[in-house]
């Protein structure tokens, strides 16, 4: 028995080595960095150990702005994209003709490059000396005034960012949900029909519980993905996100490492650990909530 155990660990060793070297060690390292005050990356020296890095980051207005932006982004895009994806998937699975075409169309954004899509969104929304952009054109048609979505007021920029994020994350969700819907056994619908169940009740009482594990998966990964948003903001507003008031937490970490104000790995580590804590907390809450509503 003892010998077998040893053999087992031996088989696991390669996996442990790689996981340790590339996943666990960096995590611990970031944690250590975040407590080293006044760390200098050139000389690899630091003055002392303490919580100053955290205090600095938490008092940095750029960081607070980034946290606010990230939270708004998460709270809007996750429910909206999941809800919309559910609606579209249900619609897709209830039509027969052209379903394949629509499925392809809805999946296109997933295989399109983020930056290319950002460029297209710029053209749609940006105000230039020559044109107000397609969206403003539409607004003008309906009697509204032009808004500068890219360099204008905060809410307009946030709207574009949320719109863009929802648009980018939807295809994957639609893909997952259409296959989840297709995997619900038709016999349950037949049983419900014989019992005279209304279609709304069938959806609420049968379809939703049956696909709840998939919805839950999408919500969790959606939260995590949205908290880690960065490239979307860059694609729309350029690399100087602090100036545009559109920075995200990951953007802040990146700026601290490499940006104009770069060279502060300790601050970056502290911010990363704070992000880690937030994501962990939210995921735990999700798990607790899901216990009641998800049926495996």
């Amino acid at each position: 028995m003892e010998k077998n155990n040893l053999k087992g660990w031996l088989y696991l060793l390669p996996a442990f080595l790689f996981l340790g070297a590339f996943m666990i060690y960096p995590l611990i390292d970031v944690f250590v960095y975040s407590f080293e005050e006044g760390y200098n990356s050139a000389s690899q020296t630091f003055f002392g150990v303490g919580t100053y890095n955290y205090s600095y980051v938490l008092h940095d207005p750029y960081f607070l702005q980034a946290v606010k932006n990230t939270f708004i982004l998460v709270m809007i895009t996750v429910p909206v994209s999941t809800g919309l994806a559910l609606l579209i998937s249900v619609a897709l699975s209830s039509i027969k003709p052209l379903r394949d075409l629509f499925q392809t169309v809805y999946f296109l954004p997933y295989v399109t490059n983020t930056l290319a899509v950002g460029l297209v969104f710029m053209i749609l929304f940006k105000k230039t000396p020559y044109s107000d952009g397609l969206v403003n054109l539409l607004i003008n048609w309906f009697g509204g005034n032009s808004v500068d979505f890219i360099e204008g007021p905060y809410w307009a920029k946030m709207f574009v960012l949320c719109f863009y994020t929802v648009w980018v994350v939807m295809p994957f969700k639609i893909l997952i949900l259409t296959s989840a819907l297709a995997s619900v056994n038709q016999v349950y619908y037949n049983a419900a029909r014989v019992d005279g169940t209304s279609s709304f009740r069938i959806f609420r009482k049968i379809t939703l519980p049956m696909i709840s594990p998939m919805i839950f998966y999408l919500v969790i990964t959606g939260f995590i993905g949205a908290f880690k948003a960065y490239s979307d903001a860059v694609a729309l507003f350029g690399t100087d996100l602090n100036a545009a008031e559109m920075n995200t937490i990951v953007g802040y970490v990146y700026d601290m490492l490499y940006g104009d104000s770069g060279g502060y790995p300790s601050y970056a580590s502290a911010a990363a650990i704070i992000l880690f804590t937030i994501v962990l907390t939210i995921t735990c809450i999700n798990l607790l909530v899901s216990k009641k509503h998800v049926h495996y």
Partner: protein, 364 residues
């Protein structure tokens, strides 16, 4: 509630687009199921029995023909307005709901004048649960139940809305042999107790014979014979029905009628006065053989299978259409195992002759 099926026909478009042939699943089904009876639809797989059930419950629309429940024409009604309870082959219990909620589900759909209060629902649910004896399982999820218990829950769910007609699709096929015997008695008991007209589908003739008031034997969408189980067994209208009913199955021989006698090979086994000379298929039930030393029929003896009360004599003959001939005789008979041939006499009422081409029964 009697069920009247008038010239019921269901055609499906062919899957193969090149061949524009339609598949006729049910062909001109014309029958009246009397009130309060338990009827078994019996046939090999693909014979249209499940389609017939779906037509009765309304999940599929007939291509032709009408369906009446009592005097009401329900052909164009959706399933929910027909008042049918359906038990699915795999039960289709909602996996995320407890047994109690599963049974209550149909009641919660009732609207308007039929709407029930919480207490009424509870009473009805427990009444149905009592009927199928699952009151102690009400808080469990379907995944925590055995197959037989799931079956009972499914029946309770079908009965709770007090349907006019109860339909069961292969109700016993997912149960093991012992549970199958028990459950079929249970279905019989519930049906007797509720007096609901019940139709069930099965491919197992034992099942159909044992509990049905009437059986309907189907083949390729066409009804072959309808009758009380024993009548159909004793008087099959054609070779298919004769072969389909009975375990062990009937023995079929190539034979001929000549000068008013039935021959298998050179053995004249029976007088058949009035039947014109022709080639025939001869069916002899296993219990239709009598061990007799000077009997008219001879076979090559292969082996004996002793099954307690009976002995099954396995033999062979070049005229048999099956590789073996099985005769069931009383265990008290002594048989010489070293003998090469064995001789039988036959019981005339257990011998059926069929036209060689049409396979229709030729009455003696």
């Amino acid at each position: 509630m009697k069920i009247v099926l008038q010239h019921l026909t269901k055609k499906f478009p062919s899957r193969n687009r090149k061949v524009r042939e339609e598949v006729v699943a049910v062909n001109d089904f014309d029958f009246e199921i009397p009130n309060g009876k338990l009827v078994g639809l019996l046939g090999p797989s693909g014979c249209g029995k499940s389609t017939t059930l779906n037509l009765i419950c309304g999940l599929q629309k007939p291509t032709d023909g009408r369906i009446f429940f009592g005097e009401d024409d329900v052909t164009d009604l959706p399933p929910e307005n027909r008042g049918v309870g359906l038990v699915f082959q795999n039960y289709a219990l909602y996996p995320h709901l407890t047994v109690e909620k599963n049974i209550r589900f149909p009641l919660e759909n009732l609207k308007g004048a039929d709407k029930l209060s919480k207490e009424q629902m509870r009473d009805r649910v427990y009444e149905a649960a009592r009927l199928v004896q699952i009151e102690e399982l009400m808080d469990r999820k379907p995944s925590e139940l055995s197959g037989g218990q799931q079956q009972r829950v499914a029946i309770a769910r079908a009965l709770v809305k007090m349907p006019r007609v109860l339909l069961l699709d292969e109700p016993l096929s997912n149960l093991d042999a012992r549970l199958r015997l028990q459950t079929r008695e249970e279905i019989r008991r519930i049906q007797k107790q509720t007096q609901i007209t019940t139709v069930f589908v099965t491919h197992d003739q034992d099942e159909a014979m044992s509990i049905s008031d009437l059986i309907v034997v189907m083949k390729d969408g066409i009804v072959q014979q309808i009758g009380k189980p024993q009548e159909v067994y004793d008087n099959p209208v054609n070779l298919f029905v004769a072969k389909f009913l009975g375990t062990p199955p009937i023995n079929v021989f190539d034979g001929r009628v000549q000068d008013g006698r039935l021959y298998i090979g050179e053995d004249a086994i029976l007088d058949t006065k009035g039947v014109p000379d022709q080639e025939v298929s001869v069916g002899i039930r296993p219990e239709g053989f009598l061990l007799q030393e000077d009997g008219p029929m001879h076979c090559r003896l292969s082996r004996l299978e002793v099954m307690g009360r009976d002995v099954s004599v396995v033999s062979a003959s070049e005229y048999s259409q099956n590789p073996i001939i099985r005769a069931i005789i009383n265990a008290e008979n002594s048989i010489d195992l070293n003998a090469e041939t064995i001789r039988f006499a036959v019981k005339p009422q257990k011998v059926f002759i069929f036209n060689k081409e049409t396979e229709e029964r030729i009455l003696l």
